[in-house]
């Protein structure tokens, strides 16, 4: 079974190639992505997929920087933080928690060589 990290990597590389083309870049030097802890994406599998899929592409010499984001649950009413593993309701007002961060699958920045 192919891990979905491959399809995410494919989407990432397509976007990077499109941006590189739009900027008339000759090469990509660095790609920075942000992956949340609760995004459902394994950063190491993403990195493995990258090392395979970047061959013979404009990204073949580009570094992949993966910034991981911790999951942060908070009460929508009083913004009190709820610790991971706890019941996801505010202990003060019983409001269901909101995931403030930690589900991101975001392309942040591309560093590329332009003439």
């Amino acid at each position: 079974m192919t891990m979905h990290e491959y399809s995410i990597l494919r989407a990432l590389l397509d976007r990077v190639e499109a941006e590189a083309q739009a900027h008339h870049a000759s090469a990509v030097r660095r790609i920075r992505v942000r992956i949340g802890e609760l995004a459902g994406v394994d950063p190491e599998l993403l990195r493995s997929a990258y090392s395979l899929l970047r061959e013979r592409s404009i990204c073949q010499d580009a570094d992949l920087e993966i910034c991981t984001m911790e999951a942060r649950w908070e009460c929508v009413r009083c913004t009190r933080q709820i610790a991971p593993g706890e019941i996801l309701r505010c202990p003060e007002c019983a409001t269901p928690a909101r995931l403030a961060s930690g589900d991101e699958i975001v392309l942040e920045q591309i560093a590329m060589e332009v003439p």
Binding site: M1, A25, R89, R98, D103, V106, L107
Partner: protein, 270 residues
Amino acid sequence: MCETCGCGDPAVVAVDVHDRILAGNERTARHNREHFQERGVVAVNLMGSPGSGKTAILEATAHAAGHRRRLAAISGDLATDRDAQRLRAAGIPSASIATGSACHLDAEMIHHALHDLAWGDCSFLFIENVGNLVCPAVYDLGEAVRVVALSVTEGEDKPLKYPVMFLKADLVLLTKIDLLPHLPDVRVDAIADALARVMPRPVLLPVSARTGEGLDQWLGWLEGQRSCLANTPLAEALEDAGRDACAPRLNRSRDHEWPSRSRAQQKIGR
């Protein structure tokens, strides 16, 4: 050109993007969602482990409600169309998607499958996802609601092990409850507790496709989603009352993340 010394060497430019990598899938999912909403079809993304009882619960749904409501299904699996065959035998017109090696369905696959299925006059379109508790959670298909089938045989701590799947669920069907007498170490309250630690609005519905227990509540929940989808005074009343059973919740961390899936809100034009 290098701005430092004017030589012909290329310059390195950092371009800020700040966009979701799966924006393409999300666009297609929005497109699917608009289609479903326009036709008043409640699309249900049904996920769960292999063997969790997804197909069986759909067969039971067809037997119980197929005479009252028109149903359709799309079944995804790595190979074979056995699930689609079972659903057709149960009276649900079904298209199958053989994903080959892909561990999940995505919005584009659904978009294509819709061309092979007469779904427009249906009340419910069930999308039976690939049996997998990891990958399918990542992909918006354009559904109205996400339902996760969790069998009593899977262990009380399953939700804790697969938080992403459960945090994005609108309803968890606890399947095969007819087996509970044979599973003395399995406690439903322990499963509910685990769920409450990964799902802010846990909704756990015990069911048995074999005995029919819990099916009435399952059908009632589905009908509730249908009321939400329709732009009716009932939907508005439910919206005003803030009834959790009506509007599915997605944990939206920031505005640039998942689009809202609250159909009642979209219909009312908010």
